[in-house]
């Protein structure tokens, strides 16, 4: 069964691909209007085409603080300040060994993966408080907040930080009835690991380490996002909901 999101307005970042795309489609299927954000204009146009009427695409590079502010300003204009849901799914992963990890890779990763969710959440929470909307924010973290991946230290650090961004924002937003949670996915087949899947042997080796014996489809993570975004978990805030097929159990 789908949660009822009829009439809710939802901003989804990273909506052109993978988990963000699946989240936009799922929230829309559950009745929400979406404001889809991505820097990939082609992918964005494609998703908005599928979504159809009542849904909007907004091209922006979230690596820039000014763009993050524009995203919220534009969605406020679009919806007359009424924002109910924010899904922060946009992220990048740069593979460079820790000792050689460049300053450029470090900065860019933290700008997109951590600062953007921070800046956008800040303005969205302020907007919700202003309008008295008891909204819901869902960040996309990662099990890498707990178990490090190899060779992409900035990404791993950014996801560790998402855990505590989620928890501290949740704590401060709670008195206003605004909930902030995160989903922590394990392995999901998306653009982020398209390169890894080109080596089927090591890919299936990784899948063999997952108790469920498979990776997730983006739609399965989107289903968790839809639950957290809805009013269903009305007593859940500051929670990091792991969705990894049991991967991090051992």
């Amino acid at each position: 069964m789908s949660a009822d999101l009829a009439g809710k307005n939802a901003i989804v970042t990273g909506a052109a691909s993978g988990i963000g795309r699946a989240a936009a489609l799922r929230l829309a299927a559950d009745g929400a209007n979406t404001f889809c954000v991505d820097r990939d204009e082609e992918g964005l146009a494609q998703v908005v085409g599928i979504l159809g009427e009542g849904h909007t695409g907004f091209a922006a590079d979230l690596g820039l603080a000014s763009s993050c502010r524009e995203v919220v300003a534009a969605s406020r204009r679009h919806w007359h300040d009424r924002i109910h849901i924010l899904v922060n799914a946009a992220a990048i992963l740069i593979r460079e060994p820790t000792l050689q990890h460049s300053r450029a890779a470090w900065n860019l990763t933290l700008d997109i993966n951590l600062k953007a969710p921070f800046l956008i959440s800040q303005e969205v929470v302020a907007t919700m408080i202003e309008t008295g909307i008891r909204g819901s924010i869902v960040n996309v973290g990662s099990v890498e907040a707990v178990l490090p991946g190899r060779g992409h230290v900035a990404y791993t650090a950014s996801k560790g930080a998402i855990t505590m961004l989620t928890r501290s924002a949740a704590f401060e937003a709670a008195p206003h009835g605004i909930r902030v949670n995160a989903v922590a996915p394990g392995v999901v087949a998306t653009g982020m690991n398209a390169d890894l899947r080109e080596d089927p042997e090591s890919w299936s080796e990784m899948l063999a380490g997952i108790p469920m014996g498979r990776h997730a489809e983006p739609e399965e993570i989107a289903a968790v996002i839809a639950f957290l975004a809805s009013d269903e978990p009305s007593f859940v805030t500051g929670e990091i909901l792991t969705s990894d097929g049991g991967w991090t159990l051992h």
Partner: protein, 244 residues
């Protein structure tokens, strides 16, 4: 899937268990409800029926070794299937550690940990034998992670339940049987001391206690296909209590 699904809910006569039964009934489940007192279960059955579900009552003590298989058999006899198990029943006897007795300890460990253990075994035996998928939700507590005074046996039982949840998820992951926990914080039930209610606006970030139905919606999610990739996890539903 077709038709209504079926879940077993223990400790369903009152409080959170009653709320879970009601919520599941609203969302298309028929139920096997169990507790030690028949009178309480009548109220739950009525609530389930009002929500459009059917309920079978099993009056039993979960500490009895035969109860687990009785519950699974009841589901199969009445409804012909069982899709989910919700281990909710628990007891909490408060006392300073040095005053906790043998019998207190037995009561809590047997009800809160041993009974779920054998119920998981009974229901999974059925699923594995028939090659069926299934989902289990164990109702743990925020106390599986954070400490409160004078509740050593209770906290230990919940810590054990959380560990059991993880190991079973690992063992049964390949079989399509998912095992998760919901760990509630302070929920407003018949047993909630009045002072908790009075202090809630100050002690809870959300400013209030939770409602049994708010645990029900979390249980429903974890039983559903929306949680198809979620296993071995505990979903904390505590109104932000653990953030402070």
């Amino acid at each position: 899937m077709g038709g209504r699904q079926v879940a077993i809910v223990t400790g369903a006569g009152q409080g959170i268990g009653k709320g879970i039964a009601r919520t599941l009934a609203e969302r298309g489940y028929d139920l096997v409800i169990t507790s030690r007192t028949e009178r309480d279960l009548d109220g739950t059955r009525q609530s389930v029926e009002e929500a459009g579900g059917a309920a079978t009552i099993v009056v039993a003590d979960l500490k009895d070794p035969g109860t687990a298989s009785r519950l699974v058999e009841s589901a199969l006899t009445r409804f012909g299937r069982v899709d989910g198990l919700v281990n909710n029943a628990a007891v909490n006897i408060f006392a300073p550690f040095l005053d906790q007795t043998d019998s207190n300890l037995d009561e809590m460990i047997e009800t809160n940990l041993t009974a779920p253990f054998f119920l998981c075994q009974a229901v999974a035996n059925h699923w594995i034998e028939k090659g069926l998928p299934g989902a289990i939700v164990n109702i743990s507590s925020a106390e599986d992670t954070i400490a409160y005074p004078e509740q050593v046996p209770y906290a230990s039982s919940k810590g054990g339940l959380l560990s059991m949840t993880k190991v079973l998820a690992l063992e049964w992951g390949p079989l399509g049987i998912r095992v998760n926990a919901v760990s509630p914080g302070s929920i407003d039930t018949e047993m909630t001391p009045e002072v908790y209610r009075r202090q809630a606006s100050r002690l809870m970030p959300i400013g209030r206690l939770g409602k049994p139905e708010e645990i029900g919606s979390c249980v429903h999610f974890l039983l559903s296909d929306d949680a198809a990739f979620v296993t071995g996890t505990s979903l904390y539903a505590d109104g932000g209590y653990m953030l402070q």
